[in-house]
């Protein structure tokens, strides 16, 4: 991944972001600090999921198990916490469960060549079913304060959720740019001959990528439940498509091999801002869907245009 390309891609996404912020300043209360912090907090779930999803899409896969894992993992942790197990151990159990599901996805994709679409969809449905069965379909809540603080507390005025998102952004970026693992992942998605030359196994990479995505989903689920002080068995539904859309808006290429984690997180923030602005403007719920759909298409179209223009420009100078 050369720097020039990343910079160009970055610009392609930042244009709409800048335009958005400029327009957003016309919306009352949008640029209030408390509102902006809220928006980041609301987008943090999608954002954390998008970190994991980026790598999955880069290797030409897709992860549809988010919806189920966002409910199943916190359900495990929640049940343990309510049974008196200490918070860190309960959370670890939930994270482990999600990572295990992710690794299972990786196993299906690498060893049994099941399409990622199906295996992740099924794992999602199974997790969702388990989340519903564990407590007979009802939600559980009223968790220890230390857990709720993660979702609702702030450090130095900045909500913990935002810090967690930042942390995952850094983690994802670190893997992507600063580890050989990252290079191999992008090779798997873009240029498989490199992999073969270095004698690396695609299977191990797939394991890692899907396992990492499951890990991110688990953390996101715990964060969500910390925010809501509840585990609602169907709480994950809304985030499935948003996470994928966030990646695509952020320039991750569905054909594989291209895309960066920070941009995907920005994609998540864009979606969060969009919903927030529509709420602040008091747009009728029926119209909100019309707006969201159109704006997503326009954003991706514009960033595509900018990207192609800059490609043409650089080609000219070569």
């Amino acid at each position: 991944m050369n720097i020039g390309f990343a910079a160009r891609r970055g610009l392609a996404v930042l244009f709409p972001v800048a335009a958005f912020l400029a327009l957003g300043s016309r919306v009352p209360h949008f640029l209030d600090l408390s509102n902006l912090l809220n928006v980041v907090r609301q987008s943090s779930i999608t954002g954390v999921c998008a970190v994991g999803m980026t790598f999955v899409i880069v290797i030409k896969g897709i992860d549809l198990s988010l919806g189920g894992l966002l409910a199943f993992c916190p359900m495990i942790s929640g049940v343990l916490m309510l049974a008196g197990i200490n918070v860190p151990a309960s959370m670890a159990a939930g994270v482990l469960a999600g990572t295990a599901m992710g690794l299972f996805n990786g196993l299906m994709v690498s060893k049994l060549t099941v399409p990622a679409f199906i295996t992740t969809l099924v794992v999602g449905q199974i997790s969702q079913g388990l989340a519903l069965t564990i407590n007979g379909g009802s939600s559980i809540g009223a968790f220890p304060d230390s857990f709720v603080f993660i979702g609702n507390g702030a450090v130095g005025g900045i909500p913990l959720s935002d810090l967690l998102l930042l942390g995952f952004l850094a983690l994802g970026f670190f893997i992507q740019r600063l580890t050989p693992l990252g290079n191999h992942i992008y090779a798997l998605g873009g240029n498989e001959t490199v992999l073969r030359q270095e004698g690396l196994s695609a299977a191990r990479l797939q394991f890692f990528v899907f396992g990492f995505s499951g890990f991110c989903a688990a953390v996101a689920g715990l964060l969500l439940s910390a925010q809501l002080d509840t585990v609602q068995p169907t709480q994950g539904d809304a985030y499935q498509l948003d996470a994928i859309a966030a990646c695509i808006i952020g320039g991750v290429d569905l054909a594989g091999g291209r895309g960066s984690v920070p941009m995907a997180v920005i994609g998540a923030l864009i979606i969060g801002c969009l919903r927030n602005v529509l709420d602040l403007l008091g747009i009728h719920p029926f119209m909100q869907n019309v707006f969201i759909g159109s704006i997503i298409v326009v954003i991706v179209y514009l960033s595509g245009v900018v990207h192609r223009q800059s490609e043409l420009a650089t080609r000219g100078t070569l």
């Binding site: 009352p28 925010q227 809501l228 509840t230 169907t234 539904d237 809304a238 403007l281 008091g282 719920p285």
Partner: protein, 313 residues
């Protein structure tokens, strides 16, 4: 409903100006009004009550039957928007607790309608106005026992998984048939939609050759359920449902169903707005309003069709 649209368009056009002065902005947050006459009825009655008193109404729906966090985010945005009061129909009674705390901190009074908030959080809202869903289910169950002469197999078409109102009604129904000779021989979620309700009813009828009664957690699923029964050429199944909508009352009159448990969404709306305005104007102290206001329930059947038509929505 057209007024809603014009109102929304008007708000977007003059978004800069209108928020500073005297008319109150009262928002109603709920899951969705699509394909749900009951929720629509609550929304309409709140809107009418708010606008009649010269204030602004804001409708906020999550647009989804299951995405609880969408509602939480939307209420947070309402707080950021500094609305004056909120009427809330929680998608999950526990998930809204943190955001209710935020509303309280922002001094925005909240009244809960229809679905309840988790016990122990009464201080976070002014009042809860709603139907006792468990009781409604129980009365329906007791009526089913009477209809079937104490013996027989019944099917249950549930609401969406995780819906507390739906779950309470079914639990109530089961409590109502407890101790009688009635047995639940099939139970599947209809997800509050006709196409799903139709498919699960078809399959349940296929699995059980002898079905005497059917309980639907809501009127919204009756179309699909009745279609399935008709297609399978099964007649004589006694059907009870919940909501008390116009559609169901018509079906009672035609004899297609035995009865429906009435809810009074219009009452919920007007009572909620009345109390909110009283608190905002300082005429009543929030603490003086009763915490739970039961908007009532009753069976609409062939014997009280006139009464039913007065209230059906």
């Amino acid at each position: 409903m057209k007024r809603l649209l014009t109102l929304a368009l008007g708000l977007t056009l003059c978004s800069a100006a209108a928020f500073a002065d005297s008319p109150y902005t009262i928002a109603f947050s709920l899951k969705t009004v699509t394909n749900d006459d009951f929720q629509k009825a609550i929304a309409t009655s709140i809107q009418q009550a708010v606008e009649k008193s010269g204030n602004k109404f804001l409708l906020v729906t999550a647009g989804d039957e299951t995405g609880v966090s969408i509602q939480v985010n939307q209420v947070e945005d309402l707080i950021a928007k500094k609305v004056d009061a909120i009427v809330l129909n929680p998608m999950d009674g526990k998930a809204v607790v943190p955001v209710l705390k935020k509303a309280q901190a922002a001094k925005i009074p909240v009244i809960i309608v229809d679905s309840s908030v988790e016990k122990g959080n009464e201080s976070l809202y002014v009042s809860y106005v709603g139907t006792d869903n468990f009781n409604a289910g129980k009365v329906a169950g007791q009526r089913m026992v009477k209809e079937l002469g104490g013996q027989g197999g019944v099917l249950i078409v549930r609401g969406a998984n995780g819906s507390s109102a739906g779950d309470q009604r079914v639990d109530g129904f089961k409590a109502g048939i407890l101790g009688s000779g009635l047995k639940v021989v099939g139970e599947q979620p209809g997800n509050w939609t006709n196409s799903v309700a139709m498919q699960v009813t078809e399959n349940m009828l296929q699995a059980n050759k002898k079905v005497d009664g059917l309980f639907s957690a809501s009127d919204v699923m009756l179309d699909g359920t009745l279609q399935a029964i008709g297609d399978a050429n099964r007649s004589g199944i006694k059907i009870l449902s919940v909501d008390g909508s116009k559609k169901a009352v018509d079906l009672v009159e035609q004899g297609a169903i035995v009865g429906t448990m009435a809810q009074f969404p219009a009452k919920m709306g007007t009572i909620a707005v009345e109390n909110l305005l009283a608190v905002l104007d300082g005429k009543k102290a929030a603490s003086s309003i009763p915490k739970v206001i039961d908007s009532g329930t009753m069976v609409y059947d062939k014997t009280n069709l006139d009464e039913a038509r007065k209230w059906a929505f």
